[in-house]
């Protein structure tokens, strides 16, 4: 019996050693700046219909399609992509701590974020818009919100922006947009505001078919970029080239139509964008 125990201990030791070895191997296996381009870890939203959605291990959405295309150009086949959930507040941390190689998660390029991470792109230009009930014609844009109840997410750029745009607006904030959509359908609020891509994703969902409508008067510009490790120009250039190729060969248009087209959504002015040069 004691002999057996020693045997199993040895086995455990061997497993640990093998695991440690595997870790070091994978750590130096990659090419460009420590990134393994054949098995990318990509951060996406898991809860944003039309953009990045995890349905029982099946990933769909515009961000997923863009990420899959970029990964393909970089040398990662779709089955080798490791999808990682990247909630808005954690995106910089995930990149800085190497938990993801790329973030393709409705990630707007801003100066504050550029201090922490680098961006490739933009691959899409979104704008803040309003989602209303399909039969409600009284809301035509941000200037017709007087006396209406508006919904957004606590702390989000959209929530702050609309308070500047329409001072004194009656704004209800929730933790997620899904709660806003539920309140909108229940007629508790009159409109939901955030990026038009997110709104179009909800309007295109089967359970809301014909019930919701995107107003189509964007009042801000959000440049969606691919977030990556700060200063990794090599990777940034490769991703930028992949985005350019995607727009040129028509895959970009196809991805937009497939994921957001169902609710008559048309991408706003400036699309398809011209990705900026990496610095």
């Amino acid at each position: 019996m004691p002999l057996k125990k020693i045997g199993s201990l040895k086995k455990i030791g061997a497993v640990v050693a093998a695991a440690a070895l595997a870790l070091t191997l994978s750590a130096c296996g990659g090419g460009a700046g420590g990134t393994d381009l054949t098995a990318l870890k990509i951060g996406i939203k898991f809860d944003q219909p039309g953009l990045g959605l995890n349905e029982g291990g099946k990933y769909t959405g515009l961000d997923v399609d863009v990420a899959t295309y970029i990964a393909g150009k970089l040398g990662t086949t779709p089955d080798k992509i490791n999808w990682i959930q990247a909630p808005s507040a954690q995106r910089e941390t995930l990149i800085e701590t190497n938990q993801v190689d790329l973030v393709v998660a409705t990630y707007s390029i801003t100066d504050a974020r550029k201090e922490k991470v680098s961006f490739a792109g933009p691959y899409f230009i979104a704008g803040q818009d309003l989602l209303v009930r399909a039969d409600d014609n009284s809301i035509t844009g941000p200037d017709s919100l007087a006396g209406k109840k508006l919904c957004s997410v606590t702390g989000s750029t959209s929530a702050q922006n609309v308070q500047k745009e329409v001072p004194g607006v009656n704004l209800q904030n929730f933790g997620t947009y899904s709660e806003c959509v539920a309140a909108l359908v229940a007629k508790g609020v009159d409109a939901l505001t955030t990026d038009d891509t997110i709104l179009a994703g909800y309007a295109a969902q089967a359970q809301y078919a014909g019930k919701l409508r995107v107003v189509g008067k964007p009042f801000s510009t959000e440049n969606y970029g691919v977030g990556l490790k700060k200063g990794n120009t090599d990777l940034c250039t490769k991703v930028t080239d992949a985005i350019k190729a995607m727009i040129e060969d028509g895959s970009w248009q196809k991805a937009v139509d497939n994921n957001l087209g169902a609710a008559n959504y048309k991408p706003g002015p400036g699309n398809p964008p011209t990705p900026a040069a990496c610095s």
Partner: protein, 220 residues
């Protein structure tokens, strides 16, 4: 870090946290005392009601209650308290925090009642005091004094739990933290700043309640 402090309204956000805490603590103390009386009353139906209340609210997540108050009660059932979103959620947050923490206040008070030797209640009844009289003259005064330490813990938990009101859009400390993380990206510094704010609110309370529980303990 200094410029973040200057650009955002920290005091305003923590002031809302303090307001939420104050009114909810008052509400929780009132409701909790009533439920505690139900739980020690001689009428089985009342005891059952008290037990049901505690078991329901102590075992329901606060976030769930909070979201229900706005999404369920205000918007689906139409039970809005005020037309203004901000006022409506402020009142609902106080109601939910009061109702939720009342269950814990009740249990703290009941533990206070249990510190009183059974003979005292029997003695009170035997000299002819009614249930109400023995409750207000003998049991509750001693129960409060015996329950100060757990009541203090409940108050501190309540203050920290006000942050849950951010999920229904309150512009309290947690709401401001969400704004700062969105604009400035999340840093350890921002996190520590808010943690410090709560420590400043709760640490003196902890010291106060510990010394009160020593001073006011019923010497037996």
């Amino acid at each position: 870090m200094g410029d973040i402090l200057a650009r955002y309204d920290f005091l305003g956000a923590f002031w809302l946290t303090i307001q939420l805490s104050f009114w909810s603590a008052l509400g929780a103390l009132l409701v909790g005392t009533v439920i505690a009386i139900l739980r020690v009353s001689p009428v089985p139906v009342l005891r059952l009601m008290g037990t049901a209340y505690v078991n329901t609210f102590r075992n329901t997540p606060l976030t769930l209650l909070m979201v229900f108050s706005i999404l369920g009660a205000s918007y689906v059932l139409g039970l809005s308290i005020a037309q203004s979103v901000e006022t409506n959620l402020f009142y609902w947050a106080i109601i939910v925090l009061s109702v939720y923490h009342a269950a814990f206040v009740c249990e703290a008070l009941r533990s206070g009642v249990n510190t009183i030797p059974a003979g005292q209640a029997e003695a009170a009844r035997s000299i002819g005091l009614t249930f109400n009289q023995s409750l207000t003259e003998v049991l509750l005064p001693q129960a409060f004094r015996g329950a100060i330490a757990p009541l203090g813990s409940t108050l501190i938990a309540l203050i920290k739990n006000t942050t849950v009101a951010a999920v229904i859009g309150a512009s309290d400390a947690a709401g401001l933290m969400a704004v700062i993380i969105e604009n400035e990206t999340g840093t350890v510094g921002v996190f520590f700043l808010f943690a410090l704010g709560f420590v400043i609110l709760t640490l003196p309370l902890g010291v106060l309640f510990t010394s009160l529980s020593r001073k006011l303990a019923v010497k037996r």
